[in-house]
Symmetry: D2
Subunit: 345 residues, 4 copies
């Protein structure tokens, strides 16, 4: 059993990590921390876990804690992981960071959209944890920057088609819709029940920090500068993310080509499901799962390709993919702990 | 007081008509019909109306009823209005039809997407009731085809910019999100609570019947063939529609040009509000109102214009616009009955 | 036109006051204040009001403001109204306070459940603003303590039956369920979207501060000490309150007696609707209205009376009743500004 | 591995059975049926299951199917199980029926509230599947009548206290609140999204068919006739049931007595969690689990005991308890397949 520490266990992504890891056949949580709830039992904060999870939150104390786990999940606000990760890596630990701190290859890009980067040397070692794409690098990685939820939902449908040259890289629009849990457990008027319920809106239009994250990966993988238009929206529901992507297929590309490319790229990848012609992704179909469902339609009249992906923002968009990364890093079955059958509704 | 008949008063759009008309200073409902609830009081079906609305549903009997009202709202499934409207028009009545039966100038377009049209001669007389655009024709109309909810939300932001030549007509994408009331009161699994709640999905991707409706109007008004890519989505909430439109501004077009064009086009139009630079439309801000809020952002990096509109699908998207049409047809103040202050939440 | 000041206009009850008063035929809002948003336009905080409400929030400055209105609504946290009301009353103004500060006749009861009362002399002058019961006193009042939402929903069904001696005063249980807007606009984890959505729970079981408020009024009106068991619950919806009351009918009391008593007590009262035998209250039927709907069933097998009431917690449970109080105090038609037809859904 | 047949697999309870059983370490689903979807793959109806559940719905044909499973779950409308169960029992199969057909000892009670009973002889053999109470009988049972959701939520808190004589059996009120999934997947206006969303109401007040079910069990177990007042309500959410019970403690009974009695009765029972003094049940804390959480408060002022229970209506209220019954019948660990850690939100 690998010993696992969850640093920042009481936010939504942290709690989801605890849920998933507690059912993992080869991992055991040996340590959880929480700034706000140090000293409290985890099941006092999440009473659904009573009788199932027997853990108590501790204050973070990296220097003394590192011995108690082999691998650390950092589920913390941006900036703190830059301070903690170097210590853990130096001690020979493996680290999966759910913040943006280790997602960018280019520190300048990070610094433009976040803040000064204080662990630039680690950026080279860090691997972007989009499992279906960086599988081989993740195997050898000690430090993984776990992708953002929006980037996961956009990159998985786009990557195969761009790499295969089936769509025009100059004309990509990503229209995403996210459940409210993506905004986390910190209080804000924009997550206040009566402000969100029975409401739908766009936010951070063309200025969300996941926009450069998507672009860096697409550009790197295709070797060409790719810019996308990205607009996120907020859906009055707890979990789920649906992303509708508009692209221009290259000449003579058929729906069969698109379907074939996606199916072939994700052949053997356990967590991507390509929808057949009769169905389309729905966030309800991925709730609680680590799946990314991908469907598409070709609008012949306008020669446009519409790609639709659905993920659970807290699972494949955060904690599930983080555990998938651990599985790959540790040489476990990639689906270990992630094959739970979801609630049908 | 003009005497008003609401034909099909117990569906959601019909009930909304009853609500709005009952507060109208110059109109009086003299007749309501319902196939399903004939003989029942309206407030038995909508008990919120008890003490406020004193009306009883009748069976539809056009030949005998025409005398009892001066203007008729038809809130019925497609196909039936084609049969009723000619009778009413022949009797000198004014008709506002909320179905698609009189929205198309081109009967072939209607027949492609709906069914055989049985009152083609009336199509010429019918005016498309997009009030802010067809104001002058509506004044003189006897028969108005009230626009669909999606077309209203797409046409209002697009029309001024296309007419002014500020955006490329070949590259328009309309990504719409609608509350569930748009699907009406008829039972179906797709409106069953547990199938919709906590779910977000696209449907009828690039194949919704409002797609040709939008295109016909845009093409007619610009004198050029315009095709758009249109994808509707379903939001787990009762009311509201947000439409995100992606367009390519022509060279040298600035945000100021866009804002100026919109503001100028809708100057003096009481039901279009252009958002300033700090705010963006939210369906909550138009709930229960006849407003269409329009905002935009220019994504300089990708040279793309993002237009966002919000309407209440049952008001500006259906019954409110229908009453606005009546106001224009009858020479009333355009806002009569429609200036109610909405619930703040 | 009476000039009205809304002190604390940007909380949910305050905003609802602004909505209702702005449609009032005999009142004009001349002043709104907000601690948090002083200097901002009201429609910046509630953008749905753009084009409809032209008001700017001011800092509260009682000493300088009193001249600008004839009647003041205080929609503030408990304790502040005790400081402001005396000043306004001294200046000859009328005051309707939506907090608990002037709801109790007995200062000791207030002090037990809230804090030290600093304006005890005013308690004698203050009238409890349950309009259907204290109509005559309200007419002459300068200071009204507007009832809490739970007390309104409990007192209206219970009062007639207790006064008529039809139910046992020793055996009353009040099980209430409230929408989330009752918790206000202040941030707290208990109103955070993901903590409330898809959740139902009781809170402050038998320890809510509305419990003594209900008891004081019932005891005073019947001349006998009445204690009730009161349990509030939180419903994942924005507006609405349903209260289910369990009582023991006195011997030989029939359903006809109950119905007759309720109908007769509320005969001529415009905002109480007694449901007939076929229907029962539903919060949806009162949303946005000032109605209290009351229904009942007699469980013959257990000789128990089940009373059910529904109100909109923000209207009859707060701001609507406050305006109704103003109407009575000023000699206006009791329904002025409150007869708006609600949204059917 | 025991071979399991799920008869009626595509309703909500049926789908939940498939979910739970598919993760069961000692059971294998060998057969699923569906009237409506015969011939279709299960994951076409519940696409979330794609890649996880490989089953195809068949037409029900009891005579030919019995050989294919050792134990059958019947998740069908009332009346059909009475026809099927005798055939299966005759063939030596074990049957767990989720309808009301085998819940009543007294056929007259069943016939009063449902219809003529056509398999009365089996009623004697049938065991009421409230696992925590009938554990010993269930061990030996071939036919289990799985309890209704409301009865489960009411009986678990009441049973220990009534058996111990701590509360007055003449004065029990059960106020229950259920999520919408309890109404099933069949279409009806009362489950139509816009009719339920943002609405809260009572229904079948003192006339719900679960009322006599609760009473029969309580009366049988205490040996005394017990009648309760029962009022169910509908909550605008998918899953969850909260039941608030009002009872009168016998003289000198202390909170400690109540807590002690509950804790002792459920000592060693894995699926009942007694809340300590600081917490109370919330449906969110049991969502997706087979737990029944029970909390209580004593209202000293009114000498009343308030018991609160929370279950997931589809799990402990239906399919989870059914699997728990199977575990007991087959001698498996009682928690087998039911120990999944739930989503934290």
């Amino acid at each position: 059993m690998v010993r696992v520490g969850v640093i920042g266990a009481t936010g939504y992504a942290g709690a989801e990590l605890v849920r998933i890891l507690s059912g993992h056949p080869k991992a055991k949580i040996t340590l959880i921390t929480s700034r706000q709830y140090a000293g409290m039992r985890f099941d006092e904060i999440y009473p659904s876990m009573r009788g199932l999870i027997d853990l108590t939150c501790e204050e973070l104390a990296t220097e003394h804690m590192f011995k108690r786990a082999d691998i650390f999940f950092l589920s913390l606000p941006h900036k703190i992981p830059m301070e903690i990760a170097p210590v853990l890596i130096n001690k020979g630990k493996k680290v999966i960071d759910l913040s943006a701190d280790f997602r960018f290859r280019d520190p300048a890009a990070y610094e433009t959209h976040y803040q000064k980067h204080t662990a630039k040397d680690l950026l080279e070692k860090a691997v972007y944890g989009l499992c279906e794409v960086y599988h081989e690098s993740i195997k050898k990685a000690d430090l993984v920057g776990n992708p953002g939820c929006y980037p996961t939902s956009a990159l998985l449908p786009l990557m195969p088609l761009l790499k295969a040259g089936l769509i025009d890289r100059h004309n990509i629009i990503v229209d995403s819709k996210s459940g409210v849990s993506g905004a986390g457990r910190s209080l804000s008027l924009s997550s206040h029940f009566c402000e969100v319920n029975e409401s739908f809106k766009a936010y951070k239009v063309a200025s969300h920090r996941h926009n450069p994250e998507i672009e860096e990966i697409l550009s790197y993988e295709t070797g060409k500068k790719i810019k996308i238009t990205f607009v996120p929206h907020l859906v009055p529901m707890t979990r789920g993310m649906l992303t509708t992507i508009y692209a221009s297929p290259e000449k003579k590309v058929t729906p069969g080509d698109i379907g074939g490319c996606l199916s072939s790229f994700y052949s053997g990848r356990p967590f991507v499901r390509i929808c057949d012609g009769n169905s389309l992704p729905d966030t309800m179909h991925v709730k609680g799962t680590n799946y990314c469902d991908i469907g598409f339609r070709m609008d012949k009249r306008t020669k446009r390709l519409i790609l639709i992906s659905a993920i659970d923002n807290l699972v494949k968009g955060a904690s599930g993919q983080a555990v998938q990364n651990m599985n790959i890093m540790m040489g476990f079955d990639e689906t270990a702990g992630l094959a739970q059958v979801p609630y049908p509704l």
